[in-house]
Amino acid sequence: MKTRKYAHKILIPGACVLVQLLFVPESYSSRVKEFDRSGQLVVTEKTAAELQPTYNIKNRQSEKIFPVPRPPFSEGIFPCSQCHAGMKPNPQRRVLKDYHEDIVLHHAEGQRWCTDCHNLLNRDKLRLVSGELIDFEESYRLCGQCHGDKFRDWKVGIHGKRTGYWNGDKQYLLCVHCHNPHDPKFKPIKPLPPPQRPGAARH
């Protein structure tokens, strides 16, 4: 009887602590305390970018993986780390002079810079706003962050070209197979010849 009487005295504060643990956001300090496998407390310094609040990736519905061909890299350019590995990352907005001068950013260039999409520390990865790093093969998720309506249509095969079998396996293309990510507007092309006018062939 006695234990029953006092049970709520333990349960209610316990529940409160639990709720607090679940809902109170982490503080935005650059020092992160974690326990490693052996139970030792490890304090690591993290950059502000790495500490950006993220939605819980575990609870996120996992995206279907779409079969796509290899991204259309310029020849010899990938992996980016083959050059970038030894370089000091420079996140400054600037005019590129030594390399990548051919890239003209014409894609909301006022609001955007290389490292908004390319990850600063690991150049072989792209970076979502959430901080999640993704492969170039998954770049549709990066584009889909802003172009959600197009992404939705692309997934069901309405936006963009899809080949393969109408009642079987389908081959998707990445956004970047048709749109240059740095200058995405579709470029005009030469049309194939018009049909012959009737009678033009008869002489």
Partner: protein
């Protein structure tokens, strides 16, 4: 007097003999030399309507056609008779907000479906229209040829067979050489067509084309994967039309039509209208869709839409 009479009679007599001789020689010419070739002509002349052929007769017909085509084009040609797939009704979607009028589809179709190169036959016609005027055919131009497309102020509307649910073309055929299959594809039996071109007059989309001359089709460009009701080589004097690439789409798994496969902007969509998960159903349910010349109640299964 009697002399001349005699003479006349003589001339007449001689000519009748000549006529008889000529006739005999003529028949001999057809029957005797090149027995195999003439047998082919004979058999195709007496071939029944495609839908009345028994299984064995059909086998013979296909064997004959494959033999003739293989010989003519110096390569192994297959002629399929794949029937419609149960539970499938084909639909086609074309995104007018994407099409740039590059005509890649026109020539992919010609290559896939063995159209005559000369006289030229195109199953797809791409119209250039004014953005200001909208879908107004009095301002349509299909001979446009600028350096680059799309041109400012214009949009493009490719037109091909709309595979109508109520096709006016099949109604007017005096010999029922054209009909709608169970999967919705309107087909032509080139061996039954008499070339009256009534169907061309009845079609409001200009989607049927007549072989005015003997089709010229270079062997190296000939697609040997053919269907009896689709892209097999046509003789002179018959009507032909788009079949949604029946030789591809009726397979399991079936490839997309050649025009959809080539489109560089991904404006062309294809799928099963009876499958709620198909891209066709998605676009009909979610996009702004129109059918061409709706007022004629032909009920096309070709849906123009605007994805944006």
């Amino acid at each position: 007097m009697s002399d001349t009479k005699k003479c006349d009679h003589h001339v007449l007599h001689k000519s009748r003999r000549k006529v008889l001789k000529g006739l005999a020689a003529g028949i001999g010419l057809i029957v005797l030399p090149g027995r195999e070739a003439s047998a082919s002509v004979w058999e195709s002349f007496f071939q029944k309507h495609f839908r009345e052929l028994s299984r064995d007769e059909l086998k013979d017909v296909i064997k004959r056609l494959e033999r003739d085509y293989s010989k003519q084009y110096a390569k192994q040609v297959t002629v399929k008779t794949t029937p419609p797939i149960e539970g499938v009704r084909y639909g086609y979607g074309l995104d007018l907000s994407r099409c740039i009028g590059c005509r890649r589809c026109v020539y992919a179709c010609v290559g896939e479906n063995n159209q005559s190169r000369d006289p030229q036959i195109h199953w797809i016609r791409v119209m250039q229209l004014d953005k200001e005027k909208g879908v107004d055919l009095s301002h349509a131009e299909h001979y446009y040829n600028p350096v680059e497309v799309p041109e400012k102020g214009h949009f493009y509307m490719p037109v091909q067979c709309q595979q109508c649910e109520k096709p006016p073309c099949t109604k007017v055929c005096p010999v029922q050489a054209t009909w709608k299959e169970n999967d919705g594809i309107v087909v032509v039996d080139y061996n039954w067509c008499i070339g009256c071109r009534y169907c061309m007059a009845a079609c409001p989309y200009g989607a049927r084309h007549f072989n005015w001359g003997k089709p010229k089709l270079p062997s190296n460009e000939m697609n040997p994967n053919t269907h009896y009701l689709g892209n097999r080589p046509r003789p002179k004097g018959v009507v032909e039309k788009c079949t949604f690439c029946i030789q591809r789409t009726r397979e399991q798994p079936g490839r997309y039509p050649a025009c959809a496969e080539i489109c560089p902007v991904g404006a062309r969509k294809f799928g099963n209208l009876l499958d709620p998960g198909s891209e066709m159903r998605y676009l009909i349910e979610n996009k702004r869709v129109f059918i061409f010349k709706e007022d004629l109640n032909t009920q096309p299964k070709f849906y123009y839409f605007y994805a944006t």
